[in-house]
C-alpha cells in the first residue's frame, strides 16, 4: 500500500473537479468549518455519489459545485471546476451564464422547486427561452423535454398546475427543466427522499435511462446507500466535511476500507437480517457539530480502532485497489471491528390473540361524498409480537393504526378487541385499562413533544395519567423510565428543542412506555432519523419487546427495517389487506402481485439484481376504488374479465399466510419463480435475489 494524496487527474477535461475545497459558515462572526479539504472529480458521463449522515457536508458540496451558497459561506481555499471553468472565481455575470448552460440541479422537494401559480408548460418553456429560443420554439422544445422524461401525454401535463400533479410526476418535470440546457453536470440533491418506494424506483429508473441519452455527468447526493449503489459508478463517503473513502460502489459497499463506512453499512438491516439474529450495529458517540475542532482524523472520537496515532497525526490517504482509497491509519485492521452480539434471550411470541381487528371498516364522510379508507380489515396479533404494516402512502396504514388507537371510530359492524373484550370505538369512551394498554410512537418527534414542556414534565404527566400514581412517586418512575431509554438525568430538565432527533425520539418512546402498555403503535418511528440513530432506536424497540413483551404495530415504508423487526407483515392497498403472513414466509413467496412489485422496487445496498416490476400510475383514490380487485389497474398479472369484475377471495398459502388474489398460490409460485429465473438467466450468476433466497 502506498500513501498518496487524493488528486484530480485533469481538471480541464473533468465534468466536475473539486480540488481541496475548504469552506466555513460564519455564525455570529465565528467561522465554522463545514468542508475540510474535499477533493474528487466526476468524469463526463460518469455518475458519482456522495453519502453520509446529516451535517457531513454533502449538500454543501453539491451547492458549492453550483456556487450557490448562502451569504455567510466563505470558501477559504480550494477550487471547483465545472467543465473546465473555474466556478470559484467567476464574475457574477459569467456565473449566471454558467448556471444557465453548463450545470443544473434537481432538489429534494419537487413541490418547492416549481412555481405553484404557473402552468407546467409555461415553466418548462421558460428554461428554453432563457437559452435564447423564441416562445413558440420553446413550447415545442418543452413538449419534447417532457416526452423525454417519459411523460406519456405532455400536452395535458403542460396545461396543468403543479398542485394537480403527483410528487413523482413533478420530479420528472423538474428533471426535464434541469436537462433543458443539455448540461455538462447534473446535480441531484436527495431527489427521491420524500417519495414513496415505488415512485422512488420510477424516478431512479428514469435517471438511469437518461444517463445514456444525455451524456451529462451526475453528482448524486443521498443518505440512502441503496439509492447510491443502484445509481452510481463511484461513491465518496463523507464524514464531518471530508471524504474518508472513495471507490467504485461495488468495492466500497462490499469491502469497505474505512471504519465509518463499515459503521454505516452495518447500521442498516441487510441481507434479510432479523431481530432474532442479532442487534444492529450502532456508531457510539455523536455526529460532530459544524465547527467542532477536528485536527487529526475526523472520525477518531467514534472509531473502534482509534489509537494514540489517530489522535496526533492526520491519517494519510491509503490506496487499497485501483481507484479505491481510504483516509485511515489502519485500513488493514478493518476486520477487527467487532460484530454486534447475537441476541441472548429467545424471542417469545404469545399464543392467544391480544388485539383483534375484526371486519373493521372506516368511512370518512365528506361533503363531496363518502371515502371508504378501510374496507373489511381482519387482523390480529399476540403478546410480544410485531406486526409490520407496509404499503404506499394512501394505502390506509395510518388510518388503520388510528382506528385501533381510538382516534377514529370504526364504522358499524366492525369491532376491535383487547384480550377478547370489545373496546369502545373512541378513546374518550374507552375504559382506563384499554387506554393505558395501547400507546403510540409518532413519526416526527418535533410534533409529538410539547415544546414548552420539559422532559421531566412530559414523562411524569404520562406516568400520572396512565398509572394513577402522583407527585414524587410519579417523578421517580419517570426517571426510571428515562434511564431505561438510556436518557441521562441532565436531559430531564431540557426542553425538546435542546435535544437531537434521536434523543427526542427516545423521549417519545419513553412516554409511550410510561404506563406499561401491551401494544405500541409505531408510525414510521425512524424515517426522520439518520441510519446510525435509526439502528439505536430499532435496537431499543427490540430490547423493550424482549424485556416486557410489548406488541408492536410497526408502520414503515422501509422494507429492510420492517423485515428486521416484524414477526408478521400485512401488506395494504387502498384500505384493504392484500397479503398477510409471517415475515419469513412473506419473503419466501409466493406473493400477491402487489407485494411482488413492492419488494422489487427497493433499491438494495447489497447490490442484488435490479429488476423492478413497474407500478404504473397513481394509487387509486379510495373514493372511487377500481371495480373487482382494487389492484387490477396496476397489476402485472391482470386477468381481463376476472380481476376487473369480481372481488378476489382470500386464499391461504400456508398456515397463517394469506393472499387476496384470483390467481391460485400455486400458479403465483410458478410465475414468480419463472420471473426470478429469467432475471438470473439474463445476468451473470449473481447472488440470490431476495424473494427466492429463503426457500
Amino acid at each position: 500500500m502506498t500513501a498518496t494524496e487524493a488528486t484530480i487527474s485533469d481538471a480541464r477535461t473533468a465534468a466536475l473537479a473539486v480540488d481541496n475545497l475548504e469552506m466555513s459558515y460564519v455564525v455570529r462572526d465565528i467561522p465554522r468549518e463545514v468542508l475540510r479539504g474535499v477533493t474528487f472529480e466526476v468524469r463526463p458521463g460518469e455518475a458519482y455519489g456522495l453519502v453520509g449522515e446529516s451535517g457531513c457536508g454533502k449538500s454543501t458540496t453539491a451547492y458549492a459545485a453550483m456556487r450557490y451558497l448562502p451569504e455567510n459561506a466563505r470558501i477559504t481555499s480550494g477550487t471547483v471546476y465545472v467543465d473546465g471553468g473555474d466556478v470559484t472565481h467567476m464574475s457574477s455575470r459569467r456565473l449566471r451564464e454558467f448556471r444557465a448552460r453548463k450545470a443544473s440541479m434537481v432538489y429534494q422537494d419537487p413541490v418547492q422547486a416549481v412555481n405553484p401559480s404557473l402552468k407546467i408548460g409555461r415553466q418548462v418553456a421558460e428554461s428554453f427561452e432563457i437559452l435564447g429560443n423564441s416562445a413558440a420554439a420553446s413550447r415545442q422544445l418543452a413538449r419534447e423535454a417532457l416526452r423525454r422524461v417519459r411523460i406519456a401525454d405532455p400536452d395535458s401535463v403542460m396545461d396543468r398546475y403543479p398542485y394537480q400533479l403527483s410528487g413523482g410526476m413533478l420530479q420528472r418535470v423538474v428533471i426535464a427543466m434541469a436537462l433543458a440546457s443539455d448540461p455538462a453536470l447534473l446535480v441531484l440533491d436527495e431527489p427521491t427522499t420524500g417519495l414513496d418506494a415505488t415512485v422512488e424506483a420510477e424516478v431512479l429508473d428514469l435517471v438511469r435511462d437518461l444517463r445514456d441519452e444525455i451524456g451529462a455527468a451526475i453528482l448524486l447526493i443521498a443518505h440512502n446507500l441503496g439509492v447510491i449503489r443502484s445509481m452510481c459508478d463511484r461513491v465518496g463517503v463523507m464524514y464531518a466535511g471530508r471524504i474518508v473513502e472513495e471507490g467504485t460502489v461495488d468495492v466500497v459497499f462490499d469491502s469497505p476500507g474505512h471504519p465509518y463506512t463499515v459503521g454505516l453499512l452495518n447500521s442498516i438491516p441487510r441481507h434479510g437480517l432479523r431481530k432474532t439474529d442479532r442487534e444492529l450495529f450502532t456508531i457510539p458517540g455523536n455526529l460532530p457539530q459544524i465547527g467542532d475542532p477536528l485536527p487529526t482524523c475526523v472520525y477518531v472520537g467514534r472509531c473502534p480502532l482509534a489509537t494514540d496515532t489517530c489522535r496526533t497525526e492526520i491519517p494519510p490517504v491509503v490506496a487499497l485497489d485501483e481507484g479505491h482509497w481510504t483516509r485511515c491509519h489502519y485500513p488493514e485492521r478493518i476486520g477487527e471491528i467487532p460484530e454486534p452480539d447475537s441476541v441472548s434471550t429467545e424471542h417469545l411470541v404469545g399464543e392467544s390473540e391480544l388485539i383483534g381487528i375484526h371486519g373493521v371498516s372506516k368511512t370518512f364522510h365528506q361533503r363531496s361524498g363518502d371515502v371508504p379508507a378501510l374496507v373489511g380489515v381482519d387482523l390480529g396479533f399476540s403478546e410480544g409480537e410485531t406486526l409490520g404494516l407496509v404499503g404506499e402512502s394512501g394505502s390506509g396504514k395510518s388510518t388503520l393504526a388510528k382506528t385501533m388507537l381510538g382516534i377514529y371510530e370504526p364504522d358499524e359492524g366492525g369491532e376491535i378487541t383487547l384480550r377478547g373484550r370489545v373496546m369502545a370505538g373512541h378513546t374518550s369512551n374507552r375504559i382506563e385499562e384499554s387506554i393505558r394498554s395501547i400507546q403510540m410512537i409518532f413519526q416526527n418527534p418535533d410534533s409529538a413533544l410539547n415544546k414548552s414542556w420539559t422532559v421531566r414534565r412530559i414523562l411524569s404527566r404520562a406516568v400520572t395519567k396512565l398509572t394513577g400514581v402522583t407527585g414524587s412517586t410519579a417523578e421517580a418512575q419517570a426517571i426510571a423510565i428515562a434511564r431505561a431509554m438510556r436518557l441521562s438525568e441532565r436531559h430531564l430538565d431540557m426542553r425538546p428543542r435542546q435535544l437531537s432527533g434521536g434523543l427526542k425520539q427516545r423521549v417519545a418512546i419513553a412516554r409511550a412506555f410510561a404506563g406499561d402498555p401491551t401494544v405500541v403503535v409505531a408510525d414510521e418511528p425512524t424515517s426522520a432519523l439518520d441510519v446510525s440513530v435509526q439502528a439505536a432506536i430499532l435496537n431499543l424497540l427490540a430490547d423493550l419487546q424482549r424485556d416486557v413483551r410489548t406488541s408492536y404495530l410497526f408502520i414503515s415504508h422501509d422494507i429492510g427495517v420492517v423485515r428486521y423487526l416484524a414477526d408478521r407483515i400485512a401488506v395494504m392497498y387502498v384500505g384493504r389487506v392484500m397479503e398477510l403472513g409471517p415475515t419469513d414466509d412473506l419473503f419466501a413467496g409466493p406473493n400477491h402481485p402487489y407485494t411482488e412489485a413492492l419488494l422489487s422496487a427497493v433499491p438494495s445496498v447489497d447490490g442484488e439484481a435490479e429488476h423492478r416490476i413497474p407500478l404504473t400510475g397513481e394509487i387509486p383514490s379510495p373514493k372511487n376504488p377500481p371495480s373487482g380487485c382494487v389492484f387490477h389497474t396496476r397489476c402485472h398479472r391482470f386477468i381481463p374479465g376476472t380481476c376487473d369484475v369480481a372481488d378476489p377471495p382470500v386464499v391461504e398459502v400456508r398456515s397463517g399466510h394469506t393472499i387476496k388474489c384470483h390467481i391460485p398460490p400455486e400458479q403465483l409460485a410458478v410465475a414468480q419463480a419463472q420471473r426470478l429465473a429469467d432475471i438470473r438467466g439474463a445476468l451473470d450468476p449473481s447472488p440470490a435475489v431476495d424473494q427466492g433466497s429463503e426457500e
Binding site: 465565528i30 442487534e279 403510540m440 412516554r511 446510525s532
Partner: protein
C-alpha cells in the same frame, strides 16, 4: 459576544447499560444549536431593550401613565381652574405663554393641565376594555380552534359578519342605544375587539392542535380542558401577548373617536382629549389652534407609543 453550544461533552455519564446490549450506545447526542429556552428568552429581551421603537414607545407610554396617576405633580392649574395672570386678569384664549404653557381655551382653562389630567380616563378605559376583550377572545378562539365542529362554524360566521362592519360605526350604534355611560363604552369596545382577537387565537390554536403531542395527550386520556389550558396555551401565549398590545392601540384610538363624537361617558367639562378636540376645533379657522392641537397630539402620541411597543414585541417573538 460568543456563542458556544453548552452541551458539547458527549458520550459521558451514560446510565448503566443494564439488560441492554452493548451496541445500543449512540445516545448522548444533543442538538446542534444548543439554545436553551432561557437563552432564547434572554436574547429576545435583549433584542427588545435594544430596539429604539420599544424605548421610545415606553418613554411615551410611561409619561402618560405617570400623568394619569399623579397629574397634580406635573401641573400648576387644576383642569377646570380659570387661569389669571399676576395682575388677576382672566386669560381667555391666549396662545402658549409662560403662565399657561399650551395656552388657554375659550373658558380660560389651562390647555396643558387639561391634557395632563385627560390621560386618566383613557388610560383606565382602554386597558380595561382590551383586557376583557382579550380574555373572552382568547377563550373563544381556543375553544373554536380546538373543538371546531358546528359551534366553530356558527361562531366564525358571526365573527366574520362583525368584522365586516366598520368598528366605529358599530360602536356609535351600540353606545347610542345603551347610553354613553363608562360601563357601556368599555363594554362596547371589549365586545367589538373580541372578533379579531378570537380569530387570531383560533388560527394559532388550530395549527397547534394538529400537532402530534395533542394526539398523544388524547391517547393517554387527558380531558379537553387540560389539553387546551396546559398543553396548547403555553405554545400560543406569544400570539396573545402581541394581540394585547396591538388591540390596546386600537382601543385608545376608538375611545378618543367616540369621545370626539360626544360619547365620552363623562361630563363635558371633565378633561378628556377627544371631548376637548371636539369642543375647540371650530376655532382653528379663527387662529386659535392650541386648544385643539395639543389634545390631538396627546391622542396621537399614545397610539403611536403603544403601537411602537406592539411592533417591537412582535418582532422580538419572531426571532
Amino acid at each position: 459576544m460568543t456563542h458556544i453550544p453548552d452541551h458539547v461533552e458527549a458520550g459521558v455519564e451514560q446510565p448503566d447499560a443494564g439488560a441492554f446490549g452493548p451496541h445500543d450506545a449512540a445516545i448522548d447526542e444533543v442538538a446542534a444549536p444548543g439554545h436553551t429556552r432561557r437563552q432564547v428568552r434572554r436574547e429576545q429581551v435583549r433584542l427588545l431593550l435594544r430596539s429604539p421603537g420599544f424605548i421610545i414607545g415606553c418613554l411615551i407610554g410611561g409619561l402618560w401613565i405617570f400623568s394619569s396617576i399623579w397629574p397634580e405633580v406635573l401641573t400648576v392649574w387644576g383642569s377646570k381652574d380659570t387661569v389669571v395672570d399676576a395682575s388677576g386678569k382672566t386669560l381667555l384664549r391666549v396662545p402658549p405663554n409662560d403662565v399657561a404653557w399650551f395656552g388657554t381655551d375659550r373658558l380660560a382653562r389651562d390647555v396643558y393641565s387639561r391634557v395632563i389630567f385627560g390621560a386618566r380616563p383613557i388610560l383606565i378605559t382602554a386597558p380595561v376594555a382590551t383586557l376583557i376583550a382579550v380574555i373572552i377572545g382568547t377563550l373563544l378562539g381556543m375553544w373554536t380552534g380546538y373543538f371546531r365542529g358546528w359551534v366553530d362554524e356558527v361562531l366564525s360566521r358571526i365573527l366574520e359578519a362583525m368584522l365586516s362592519i366598520p368598528t366605529i360605526l358599530l360602536a356609535i350604534v351600540i353606545v347610542f342605544t345603551f347610553g354613553p355611560t363608562p360601563a357601556v363604552i368599555i363594554g362596547t369596545i371589549a365586545f367589538l375587539f373580541i372578533a379579531p382577537i378570537a380569530r387570531t387565537v383560533r388560527a394559532a390554536t388550530l395549527s397547534e392542535s394538529q400537532l402530534d403531542y395533542v394526539t398523544a395527550a388524547r391517547l393517554r386520556g387527558e380531558k379537553s380542558l387540560y389539553i387546551i389550558t396546559r398543553e396548547i396555551f403555553p405554545n400560543i401565549v406569544g400570539v396573545v401577548v402581541v394581540e394585547v398590545t396591538v388591540r390596546l392601540g386600537y382601543a385608545v384610538f376608538t375611545l378618543a373617536t367616540l369621545a370626539f363624537l360626544g360619547l365620552s361617558g363623562g361630563n363635558v367639562t371633565d378633561p378628556n382629549w377627544g371631548v376637548d378636540v371636539a369642543q375647540n376645533y371650530q376655532q382653528i379657522v379663527a387662529g386659535v389652534w392650541w386648544p385643539t392641537i395639543f389634545p390631538a397630539l396627546a391622542i396621537g402620541s399614545l397610539v403611536i407609543g403603544v403601537n411602537l411597543i406592539a411592533d417591537s414585541i412582535e418582532r422580538a417573538t419572531k426571532t
